[in-house]
Symmetry: C2
Subunit: 180 residues, 2 copies
């Protein structure tokens, strides 16, 4: 079992923290994980990409080569990484304009607006996204995801971030795109 | 120019944040960077390892294969990663017991005690370490390291963390181990 995640969006969306927390949840669940953040010319353009590879085995190659899950929170991220998707599932924010030329299985979920409206803080969209990815992939159970969030977010923001995680888990459950 | 860093120590030392900040400073300095955190059985033992690769070119392989700099803040980290060092420099905390069988060039610096005594907060040892690594490697100038720290640490802790960075830069300058 090797599951590859690519989290993409804009620089301020906190996707690195979402990736780190996903990796740490997998560890709490007894798996191996590698989290990678690549910076480069595209990072300077304001875009952001974090990757997480989770496996029951040792992880030889730490990068996502054929992601099982692509999270794309912005049009730019969708247009950049969507065309590379083969077997995996694309999860976009509903604000992203879908392109029929991108053939991979895609589900659009209100990640950004749910953070703003259901949790009351746009900045926790990353934890909503974490809930979506955790829920759809099943790499760690809800209680372990929660533990990883509490261990990683700044003190005093636990409650807000856990609420965001739960909103994401709900979005995943309602999406009809649950994991194989 | 490809420079590889391995930051190792115990779980609570914040070395992942130090690695992220180092990578981001390199980006601000116009370079490419990849930051990797590998978790696995050893992570469960309480140890922590983060890697950063910085290059003027595109980075094909994101992991450190022959580190230029190994930071080892604990005995366990030193014993685990020290023997793998070939061409690079080992930077240990002065609390680490050196082993003559580990032949790589080594400099021991009071990273943990400087955080506690000169900055007044043990938890900023990671930013002292960042100052040491930034200073010894020269991958980003001081002002850019400072900018990266301020951009990444929790709001309200800027001053403390920048102070820690400066203490680390001083340790590097006084160490006599400056970069090739």
């Amino acid at each position: 079992m090797r599951v590859e995640f690519r989290l993409s969006g804009s620089g301020g969306q906190g996707l690195l923290l979402a990736g780190i927390t996903l990796a740490e949840a997998a560890i709490y669940a007894g798996k191996n994980a590698v989290q990678t953040q690549s910076y480069g010319p595209e990072a300077r353009g304001g875009s952001s990409k974090a990757e997480v590879v989770i496996s029951d085995e040792e992880i030889d190659y730490p990068k996502a080569t054929d992601p099982d899950f692509l999270l794309a929170l912005t049009n730019d991220a969708y247009k950049t990484y969507g065309p590379m998707m083969a077997k995996g599932l694309i999860i976009t924010d509903t604000s992203v304009t879908l392109d029929p030329a991108i053939k991979a299985r895609t589900v659009a979920l209100p990640i950004l607006s749910s953070a703003a409206e259901k949790v009351g803080k746009k900045v926790v969209a990353n934890m909503v996204a974490l809930g979506v990815l955790g829920g759809l992939s099943g790499v760690a159970p809800k209680e372990i995801l929660k533990k990883a969030v509490v261990a990683r977010v700044p003190k005093g923001t636990d409650e807000l971030n856990v609420k965001a995680l739960e909103v994401g888990l709900e979005l995943a459950a309602q999406s009809g795109a649950a994991s194989k």
